[in-house]
Symmetry: C3
Subunit: 365 residues, 3 copies
């Protein structure tokens, strides 16, 4: 499947692309990553997610909870107050809220109306992530649950996680990780994976957009070889794939198979990665990632891995922020039509999927 016809280069008007900065392009009726598990504890974590002020903390029993970070009395961020037991005390006038958002105390009077409080948000914790649902409660039952990432529970795997805030629409990151031909340019000096040149195969199955690409007898890049402890350049068969599971999550992996028939030792290696992006607003995102593998799992190698990924992902951040700035000043338009090529097929299909997410939300409103 390719995106278009003969030339592989064509222009499009996308409703859901990241350049339509004035129209919301994220669904409310979707589970999104609010934080990494390790970020949520007994102090208060304030985040803006989907243009909503969110306060996250962990109850004494250890459950991650989320309520609206805005006191309805005078609009004070509750995160300026303090946590006492499982209750949050506003730092302005001491209004107190339980972990479900219900106001339990107004210090200056005895009466608290039963219905008075702030919104609370459903939370599901699946380490390494805490997921949040910010849409209407009525629609929640019909929304697919947060995807499970089996490898995070696989004892053969170790993984590292990270988080950064990027000044760009979240779909810019999605499109970044759906077109890995950028490796040879953005990450030429860091990851050094230069053989990702051709566009991959793309399939769409029940809203999941997946690219797949096989490399046969391809010399191992140093970044891979180091973790496997085999010589760089050793020929390996490599299967890469990545899936747009929902507007919130991208998941992918690499399977390596030693192509050398006479080699001794281990022949298979696996890498798994996921990219979760949550819109702060239309021009900023929280970006959470996890990267795991079944080899090179010593603490030293995992620490080194994390540093290397941070360096590489900061290269993506720099590009994405420059693109967002450019789109702000020269958006796609009749005179500046967006151009798609074959390597954009997965990204374009992800936009199509996003359009359907948005359309379903429209219909139910």
């Amino acid at each position: 499947m390719t995106a278009g016809g003969g030339t592989g280069v064509h222009t499009m008007n996308d409703e859901s692309g990241p350049s339509r900065s004035d129209i919301r392009n994220y669904p409310l009726r979707c589970w999104w990553v609010a934080a990494r598990s390790e970020e949520v504890g007994r102090s208060m974590l304030a985040r803006w997610l989907l243009d909503t002020p969110v306060l996250l903390f962990r109850t004494l029993a250890g459950n991650a909870v989320a309520i609206e970070n805005r006191c309805p009395h005078r609009a004070t961020p509750l995160s300026l107050g303090r946590l006492e037991g499982d209750e949050v005390i506003c730092g302005y006038h001491g209004f107190q809220y339980d972990s479900g958002g219900r106001c339990t105390k107004i210090p200056s009077q005895s009466h608290v109306p039963p219905s008075f409080g702030v919104r609370s948000f459903p939370v599901i914790e699946r380490p390494p992530f805490v997921w949040i649902y910010l849409g209407d409660r009525e629609s929640l039952a019909a929304i697919p649950e947060p995807p499970r990432l089996d490898w995070t529970e696989d004892p053969d795997f170790s993984y590292v996680t990270g988080h950064m805030t990027i000044a760009g629409n979240y779909m810019l990151l999605k499109e970044n990780v759906l077109d890995l031909t950028h490796f040879g340019y953005v990450h030429a000096g860091t990851f050094g994976i230069s053989d990702w040149v051709n566009p991959p195969e793309v399939s769409v199955d029940d809203e999941v957009v997946t690219y797949r690409q096989a490399f046969t007898d391809s010399p191992l890049a140093p970044v891979y070889a180091l973790a496997m402890e085999v010589p760089s350049g050793t020929p390996f068969n490599r299967n890469n794939w990545g899936s747009f599971l929902s507007p919130a999550l991208q998941s992918g992996g690499v399977d390596f198979k030693n192509a050398s028939k006479d080699s001794a030792g281990r022949g298979n290696y696996r890498i798994r990665v996921c990219h979760a992006t949550t819109p702060i607003d239309m021009h900023h995102m929280e970006y959470f990632w996890a990267f795991g593998r079944d080899h090179g799992t010593s603490p030293e190698m995992m620490t080194q891995l994390r540093g290397g990924i941070m360096t590489g992902f900061n290269e993506d951040k720099a590009i994405i922020e420059a693109v967002q700035q450019m789109l702000h000043r020269v958006p796609f338009s009749e005179s500046h039509k967006e151009v798609h090529v074959r390597a954009d097929t997965a990204g374009v299909q992800a936009r199509r999927s996003l359009e359907r997410w948005m359309a379903r939300e429209e219909r139910r409103t």
Copy 2:
């Protein structure tokens, strides 16, 4: 009087509240504090007040004067120029203005039309403040004069003053000082006055909104005891009050009476305070304050007092700026109705008074 009926918790749609950021909520026909007396001297002080560029200085005779800080020739801030005698010389092309705003010299030509100049603004100095009137001259006679603060002239009193710029609508500060139940939360670690819990009585008399609250046999907070040089925790009767005198000024005080019948020495102590806020624009204010007392008036204790107040008022500033930011992103609306409780009665009445100030201005326009 209470703000509402049974529950003491209700929602309101206020026209004059600080959250209606797009509509001017300050009257032009009102005296406002432009500066503290000590700030106005023989160098030029530039301020934005009520969205107007103002230049303040003191004439050779010592009178504080104010003219528009914008040369009508090329819109240069006159404060970039220099003061010569009682005249201001524009730093761009040397146009010269007297302290009444009249242009007295255009260096490149001999003729200056008699009507040519900048606006000058009526000023009244009542130390520690210089007041300014930025409305139309026709309405000036009907506007109440700046309030007198008798205690600033009382030889038994010493006072300190301060100034800060706050990135918030000026009414956020007004509401702050009209609901002192925030003391136990915002200033718990600084002022340490924990007994202000119940909402006070509120009265409205000829546009002056006043709260009053009496504390009987209440243990002295350390911040009070220190200045009186009596043991902290000594039971005192305490009368607190505060008045919204105009949109420009809030005034208040505390009267202490030693409740211990057998105590020797002094039995009465007085504190007076005023909070003047002047809008820079709808999202910023200049905040001027004065704090006086008839005890603990040694220079060392007054210096210590000033430092303590600055620390405490910076806590208010942090809250107010956070609230302004929150209102910018999530304003009060149908889905986020503002909630008032009994302790807001004075603040709500101040909004009512402000609405009448604004309505009078409307009628006369």
Copy 3:
């Protein structure tokens, strides 16, 4: 010719003045300075000019070229990529463009449509400047070529150049250099030329607005005397003039003639200067200048000259940025009419000329 009637002070409503911040006041059909020659080389120079992202570099053959700094694929600034030979490689996915803007390679596929690419812009290099044309190609033939500055090629002259970005509409700089009565105020402490007081004569000839002013037996300012190596205060006849050649360029000069009949040695000295301003957008400009003279041309004196000019021009920048800020908050309006005096005649005529530039562009659109 004077701007008005009797008083020499009058108000105007100008369509092309720098205070109409919402309406474009620069013509697209005009040659503008994009850079100084020395800035354009074998690395990529990114500039925003007339709200357009421009990428400048020099080909291997040494020609300055300019293309749009925005990859049509994903809106990435091409300047984040790299230059290889005469081609630019996008830093995101490696799309490659030649110096004419044509896409020559899409790494992920073999086919590149012949018409695919970015805009290229006509460039003319006349040292010390590289000029660019950002309008439509159809109109190019009818547009006057960039002015020649003969003195930059005169072996008797040495010159220095400079560049700064100013946060102001470009016409604010034009009006600055067309009314030199600001010398006695803005530059009193630096250039020290205090005799420019009266408004000059102004003529308009075929869209070129020129002021001329003669000073007879005027004592030399130190800044002039130093370069001539004659005593400061020596009486000289001095002819100053300046011309608004186009919205892009202002050119001027000073001719000195020794007024002392019995003086030995040299009697004539010449200074030439030009000010090129190119709008970045309606509120920012690139400012390029060149300053030459036929005396005081030793490297040490030219270095000193450059430092002195930078100091002085930074004084203009400070004023212009303050004016732009003021106009942003208090624009010219019915209540704040702009006032013109006789010394503004040249500036007002430049606005008239600009209006005709804009009107011609309108007609041809």
